[in-house]
Amino acid sequence: MSLRSPLGRVLGHGSAGHGSGQWWAQRVSAAALIPLALWFFYSLLALPALDFGAAHTWLALPRNGFLAALLVAALTYHSYLGTIEVVEDWVHGTAMKLGLLLLLRFMYVLIGGASLYAILQVAFGNQAS
């Protein structure tokens, strides 16, 4: 006979191995992405052209750079949570699962970090380029 409570026995047995934190984070980042993604999509389409000059001038504006940085942060986080969830649900075998999860974490930090750095470079970098 186990003395553990029914709750104690089921905790940690979902495919993620932990609780509802990811669920909430996914919803909150999704809500943040609705206005941010629509703004970005509309802004790029509304530019008269998407050549280097137009795109650079647009992103170099403080408001656009700030919102683009928020978008990249929310997008990277949301995409990370979603991809992790797919791996947790569908990839079996501890080594394969752990390996993929680690790889994805590194990839997302790399992509998010590089994107944010690029936005900052456009905002504060050498305008002559």
Binding site: R27, A31, I34, F52, G82, V86, S115, A118, V122
Partner: protein, 130 residues
């Protein structure tokens, strides 16, 4: 009660193929597609920060036939994932669970995403952007 004899929840292959599970699967597929789109967005931003030469090279990749095809696909994935995501957020709030509501909002998400994709790319084509 022996734990082993308990009824298990039905697994995937037991469900009849219908709009509900199709759209749920499509939500995940478009999510994965958009994860690749995030990599493309990152590539675009890095090229933009890298100067005019780099940006031109990146723009050529995006303007290639394969590039345009991918961009059209990402446009659909974006709109569908956005609209279906709103459906999911509504369900999380306990709204729209009735059978007819689910079916209506599901069809709306698919058809609106297709319509918006068509509209965006026809507009781009009309204004000579592609």
């Amino acid at each position: 009660m022996p734990a082993r004899n308990r009824p298990l929840s039905p697994h995937l292959q037991i469900y009849r193929w219908q709009i509900g599970n199709s759209l749920s699967i499509l939500h995940r597929l478009t999510g994965i597609a958009l994860a690749l789109g995030l990599a493309a967005l990152s590539f675009w931003l890095i090229s933009l920060a890298g100067g005019e030469e780099r940006y031109r090279a990146a723009a050529r990749v995006f303007a290639s036939p394969v590039g345009v095809l991918l961009l059209i696909g990402w446009t659909f994935a974006f709109f569908y994932h956005l609209l279906n995501g709103v459906r999911h957020l509504c369900w999380d709030l306990g709204v729209g669970y009735e059978r007819t509501q689910r079916h209506l909002s599901g069809w709306f998400a698919v058809l609106a995403a297709l319509g918006l994709t068509l509209w965006v790319w026809l507009a781009l084509w009309h204004f000579g952007r592609i």
